[in-house]
């Protein structure tokens, strides 16, 4: 199998599975129980909590709350401003667990959006214009690395600019695709107010995410109940999942450890046919997004899957307009080509030989589909 959908889910590390199995079997007490067994489990959780905070060097400024997913974590922060009256600044290119939430729960007058340029990067002029127009600004949501096109936000610039206009606005960063995939240093995170992360994107288990945030006594619970997670998110914590999360963080590989050269991969694909177009800015994240002008990308995807190769295509035929994407519309691509959009995302296990094999098979698929191309 050649798995090129790591941005959707990154295969879990074997040693993590082994430790988690052990924890499921042996550390089964409720970590919130009063007896010694429960307390030991509780301590183990605290250890992971601290280690993650330390990894980002946020132990002294931020708290960490575990959630079932990064989507849940995003929801938690975004919902905190329902009772205030200022604006929320975000982008249509964000993950749906950011922009759909804001669209659904805030009235139009409180919502403000900034845009991306033709390469998928922050449109700086537009960003500054928006910051200038809005008053007051309660919350800004920033996507560090875009999950669909892999472009990266210059966090330094963004944070400085926001603080220039609105020093009190809460800065939230969706870091789900960025951890281990960016070369910006984590020290920048001291300047932000909250960060969401997800375990299964960094080769940990599914079912656990977290939000790191500055202490805020005004925050309201996401889930009421037994009072776990500082009374903000009740529900019994899963120690095995948290352990897996902690281990994934410790073993994060950096972009330097990726085995292939992204530009080389892109060039090799383009060599197959000039119908492959890669218009987005190519940073260091292992996400390659582009268009295959000819047939809708789900056909490309299915042909590749018959060869045991998995890529990402968002074209579901049951939607009225095939492949319609808010992000692509925002950047300015005509709806008629949205269905040609595809994405490849790899990890450090994708070696040169795998790339060579992938190119060979992609070439075969291209030849099989040639006669259909208009």
């Amino acid at each position: 199998m050649i798995y090129l959908d790591c941005a959707a889910s990154n295969p879990i590390r074997e040693n993590i599975v082994a430790q988690m199995s052990n924890a499921f079997l042996n550390d089964f007490a409720n970590p919130h129980a009063a007896h010694r067994f429960g307390k030991e489990c509780g301590k183990k959780i605290q250890k992971v909590r601290d280690s993650i905070l330390n990894f980002f060097d946020l132990k002294n400024s931020h708290q960490l709350m575990f959630t079932g997913s990064a989507s849940e974590a995003n929801n938690f922060i975004i919902k905190q401003y329902l009772k205030t009256s200022g604006s929320i600044l975000y982008c249509r290119g964000d993950h749906p667990s950011v922009y759909q939430v804001i669209d659904s729960i805030y009235p139009e007058e409180r919502r403000a959006q900034f845009s991306l340029n033709q390469q998928g990067l922050l449109d700086q002029k537009n960003f500054e214009e928006k910051l200038n127009e809005i008053y007051p600004l309660d919350l800004v949501c920033l996507t560090w690395v875009n999950n669909q096109i892999g472009t990266e936000l210059d966090l330094d610039y963004a944070i400085q600019t926001i603080k220039k206009f609105h020093p009190k606005a809460w800065i939230h960063v969706d870091g789900v695709q960025a951890i281990g995939k960016s070369d910006q240093h984590y020290s920048i995170l001291k300047k932000i107010d909250s960060l969401t992360i997800s375990a299964h994107k960094i080769r940990g288990p599914k079912g656990i995410g977290a939000v790191l945030f500055r202490d805020n006594s005004l925050f309201e619970p996401l889930v009421y109940g037994g009072g776990q997670e500082f009374k903000l998110r009740s529900g019994t914590l899963s120690y095995p999942l948290i352990l897996g999360f902690g281990m994934a963080i410790e073993q994060i590989s950096s972009v330097q450890e990726l085995s292939i050269n992204k530009n080389e991969l892109i060039q090799k694909i383009k060599d197959i046919s000039d119908r492959f177009e890669f218009p987005f800015y190519n940073g260091c994240s292992p996400i390659v997004a582009g268009f295959f002008h000819g047939v809708s990308s789900d056909i490309l995807m299915r042909h590749l899957e018959t060869k045991d190769i998995f890529i990402s295509s968002s074209s579901a035929c049951s939607s009225k307009i095939k492949g319609k994407s808010d992000l692509l519309e925002l950047i300015g691509f005509d709806q008629s080509i949205h269905k040609f959009f595809f994405r490849l995302s790899y990890n450090e296990d994708f070696k040169k030989e795998d790339m060579a094999l992938f190119i060979e098979k992609l070439n075969d698929v291209y030849n099989e589909l040639k006669f259909l191309l208009k």
Partner: protein, 395 residues
């Protein structure tokens, strides 16, 4: 004790064959009751109808299934009462009470049929007497109307008892499934083929369904949609099957070996060829399609002729003279409209050339089909082996 009267449809036309048709239908009715009742039931022939007697409370399911079983004209839940005028009137009063509910006024009539000529009343007299009893009970809230009243109370005087019913559920009619033979129905995700199938069901054709899945050109959504459609169509049959046939490779071979204008027509040809192969294995003697004359390029006279020249078994096209709007109306009636309307990837349109041939050139047609036949012979057999067979329950 619940009674369901099952009135048969066209069987009275069948003369000497009537017994065979009737027994087939009775067996199918029995199967349905067997599936749907938790307690025992009995079936009886009672002059030109089947009478079901069961203690099971849930007869709504049986009635619903029976209204979809071809060969049945109508289904009437009924009550069996002693041959006593007072008791009969009493039951009628109960039924009227139920129907009347909180209406202030309602029209009604009583209709009596008697096969028992020893019964002391004549039919019309009995209707009048019982009608009078009913009216006396409800007085001003009821009035008699002989033509199309809101409520008709039917009384059937048999030898040992009377059946009384007030509700009639109409069935799809026609001939019992299988009495007209076995055909293969080619299903697509559109409106037409399901309606064609339904019509053939009412003519007593037992159908095996076939869907050609153009994976990897299309995904599984269209397959799921077809399975939903087939399940609905299966309720108008009596235990049929759907074959999901992987068709992508065949389409590929055809597309690489023909003039692109003929692609779509040749796909149809390959489907018919496959259906012929399947027919020989499962003893089917016809193919059913949703073709309607002139709708799309492959449905012109010349193109139909081209396809027909290549099949050993006849191709039945029940919609060949049907207007699209009538097809859509029927699809709503039979419950396939809302499934057909779901958008899906259509492999045919993906492969469709800019100018598909409207009048096939028979010379080219003979050549290309001969060549492709050679290439596809083994492929078709392999494809049949790789096809998935899905059973479609009838209730």
């Amino acid at each position: 004790m619940h009674i369901i009267l099952v009135n048969v449809d066209e069987l009275w036309l069948k003369g000497k064959n009537r017994k065979m048709y009737f027994n087939t239908l009775k067996k199918q009715v029995g199967n349905i009751c067997q599936q749907l009742t938790k307690v025992s039931f009995r079936l009886k022939n009672e002059n030109q109808r089947i009478v079901i007697k069961t203690e099971d409370e849930n007869i709504d399911g049986i009635i619903s299934s029976l209204t979809r079983l071809p060969g049945i004209y109508s289904v009437q839940p009924a009550f069996e009462i002693e041959l006593d005028k007072e008791k009969i009137s009493q039951k009628c009063i109960e039924l009227v009470d139920e129907e009347l509910a909180d209406k202030t006024k309602m029209s009604f009539k009583v209709e009596t049929k008697r096969i028992n000529k020893t019964f002391p009343y004549r039919s019309m007299d009995f209707s009048r007497e019982v009608g009078a009893d009913i009216w006396t009970h409800f007085q001003d809230r009821l009035f008699v109307r002989l033509k199309e009243p809101e409520l008709t109370i039917n009384i059937k005087i048999n030898y040992k008892s009377a059946f009384i019913n007030s509700k009639t559920f109409y069935g799809v009619g026609g001939l019992p499934v299988g009495t007209s033979g076995h055909g293969i129905t080619m299903l697509s995700g559109g409106f037409d083929s399901p309606v064609a199938s339904y019509q053939m069901s009412t003519r007593g054709l037992f159908q095996t369904f076939v869907f050609f899945h153009a994976y990897p050109y299309v995904g599984d959504e269209v397959k799921d949609k077809i399975i939903e459609l087939a399940k609905v169509l299966g309720t108008y049959q009596h235990g049929s099957n759907l074959y999901v046939v992987p068709f992508g490779d065949i389409q590929n071979i055809i597309a690489q070996n023909c003039d692109e204008k003929y692609r779509t027509l040749l796909f149809r040809w390959a489907m018919v060829k496959f259906s012929n192969l399947l027919a020989s294995k499962i003893d089917a003697k016809a193919i059913v399609t949703g073709d309607s004359l002139g709708q799309v390029s492959s449905q012109t006279l010349e193109n139909m002729m081209a396809i027909d020249s290549q099949t050993d078994i006849p191709i039945l096209r029940p919609l060949v003279g049907t207007h699209k709007k009538d097809i859509i109306l029927t699809s709503k009636k039979i419950g396939t409209h809302d499934i057909s309307i779901i958008p899906h990837d259509d492999a045919c349109s993906m492969f469709a050339p800019a100018h598909p041939v409207i009048r096939a050139n028979m010379k080219y047609w003979s050549e290309v089909t001969a060549q492709l036949s050679e290439k596809l012979n083994d492929v078709l057999t392999e494809t049949l082996e790789k096809s998935d067979k899905i059973y479609l329950p009838y209730c």
